[in-house]
Amino acid sequence: MPPTASSSSSSRHRALGLTDDEYELILERLGREPNGVELAMLSLMWSEHCAYKHSRKLLRRLPTDGPHLLMGPGENAGAVDVGNGLAVAFKVESHNHPSAVEPFQGAATGVGGILRDVFAVGARPIAVLDSLRFGEPAESARSRYLLERVVAGIGHYGNSIGVPTVGGEIYFERSYEQNCLVNAMCLGIAPHARLTRAAAAGPGNVLVLLGALTGRDGIGGASVLASAELGEGDEAKRPSVQIGDPFAEKKLLECCLELLDRELLVSLQDLGAAGLTSSASEMASKGGVGLDIDVSRVPLREEDMEPFEIMVSESQERMLCVVEPERVGAVIDVCEKWETLATPIGCVTDSGQVRVLDHGVAVGELAVEVLVDDCPLYDLDPAPPENPAALYPPVDARLSGAESPAEILLELLRSPNIASRRPVFEQYDPIVQSRTVRRPDAADAAVLMLGDGGAIGVSIDGSGRRVACDPRAGAAEAVYECSANLACVGAEPLGLTNCLNFGNPEKPHVAWQLTEAVDGMAEACEALGVPVVGGNVSLYNEAPTGPIFPTPVVGMVGALPSAERAGQLGFAAPGDAIALVGYFEHSLVGSELAKLRGEAPTGSLPGLDGTLLRDLHAAVRDAVRSGAVSSCHDIAEGGLTVALAECCLAGDLGASVELAAAGEPGLFGEAPGCAFVVSGPAERLEAAGLPRLHVIGQVGGDSLSLTAGNLELNLAVSDMRVARDGGLAKLV
């Protein structure tokens, strides 16, 4: 098509983030120029955030089916069967860019958004987890500020709405200095019958908007922000910050669940990025119908809003539902009870179009197909970095290499990546709803009772530094580590969700990281037989200095037959034997010790045999469930020595351990997902059928003493506690 579009419209589409080719495609599909309302809607629906332009093809590589699967990717949250007619729905989502702009509100609304995704499918949220990444706190006041405000924001929303924050993870690396990561995961439970899909259906049915008034929040906000690199000019994007109101969401949540329990709704959908535009398009697309929306009926917080503003507003705490006409009255009654606004704003049609009306007059009309399906999907152009060591310059060394094992251990325990997370998790309420059997610090995964005697375990993991070394193995490791964490509490994996946080995918080395990571994740999921039930992608996390560490964050949910038998990580009783279990390959690549010694994140990680690991995790899980082991902990950051120290600290007991000469890689090398430290009565441990079990010591006393060939250390538990407790406490 010749470049006939007027210059004004061509500059308009560029300002809205559409490429010239994309705009040409729109002209072709529409056979005309879009008006302002339509262009605003299209630019958002065709943004990276909504259309997954650079990731959708890759995501097809992830296995999405499994024996327990009830709802896979494509719905607001995925869901798995946990028995007794109960389903667990869960999803992880990023709110990285909004949190970089306004950390408190950004993080708070991130939690609000993921909660809505979960109750949109009819599940009552029962837990939140958060996965956070910041720059080096010791060198960056901004990172400390972001940490403080993000944690406060997550706590503010989760605590106020009465959903426990039961776990999470935090890492500090320089590559996140300009692009912090704030990923939040939510889990909910529902009777199978209440699980709800978003597909609109039944021409003539009424479209009802629930919840908050619509204001100018986030206009040109999240969707556009999430699709462009945050540069020097991020000040300009500021006026559209969304403010979270957990009180409004609490009422909305109770209201929606009551509406579903009373079977008053045909379908339900949250309003997130791109507001009404995205919700309406998705609902229409999934149901193969059209929708008419009259923006003049949308209740506004500010009187003079334009139709396009109403269509793209990202005001929080709103939901959209489809209701049969004769039930609208009943819906409004339930909403009135919960002091939640309910406004019919349109209807389902068989036109296949999203029609926007203003006082009955059409102001925009777009085929659902064009909005949802026609955005081009791009192939990536992956190539490994030419000089991997230059990609992520190391931080200054804090250890020279001359230190004793005891000095190394204390420095590791003080490291912000390993130190006690108590200063953070004490700001969260992990116990509301009375389900939490394992709180933070008590075990490798959180454990929640379901009320029918059963329980679930949940863990969230993803070490960007290891993925930076070796994207394929590192991403697989994140999956294995989650599974290992579940094994530690006796839980069998049912499904996983993930958030892919990466740099600019148009750059070949980032495309390579992304491709490798997705492949690694897919391989691990296949090996474990765990389906991906959903997730989220956050790209363009890139500063002038380069991309963030490639950071796939994995959240995994598993089932336990009984909460009574949930595993713990602390040593339980003096006299218990301590054993090393599994496949522990000694290597310092990607380890915290390597970082403290100022080494760049390069080198390949041990390739893991997924089948062996699946059997290993099954054996560990069985040993936890049968009570053969009294404590169980996987060997992750800081290696075996830190794992032993953590078991001592959690149980407030000492230990004496003797290892074959293994050198520093044996003491401080990391093996996430591959190896465990367990304890229990010796004869029970040895009879438990655990692969590669080596008894290495005994629980007792009030210090950790360890010898390995010519290396040895002896530290009082109380000294280790001071080191570990102080690491973060002085930063937050």
Binding site: A212, G215, P239, Q242, I243, D245, A248, R301, S315, Q316
Partner: protein
């Protein structure tokens, strides 16, 4: 100088506190109240009042979501 800094949610930004108060007042029998906004009041002695705008921008207010106003407390009179 004794200064007062009044910090309020920016126009157009959601103010859940203001909404909550506005809804509560009629229930208490107070009619005819509208446009309620809840913000912060900071009172302080400053040696150099010229520093106040900068203090507000950097610490006392969050310019992204809040407006502020600086008042001379000694000059201000209550009604």
């Amino acid at each position: 100088m004794r200064a007062r800094v009044l910090v309020r949610p920016k126009q157009g930004i959601l103010d859940p506190q203001g909404q909550a108060v506005e809804r509560a007042l009629p229930a208490l029998g107070f009619a005819g109240v509208s446009h309620v906004h809840v913000g912060r009041l900071i009172e302080l002695d400053v040696e150099d009042p010229d520093q106040l705008p900068d203090m507000c921008e950097r610490l006392l207010a969050n310019p992204l979501i809040e407006d502020y106003e600086i008042v001379d407390a000694d000059a201000a009179v209550g009604s």
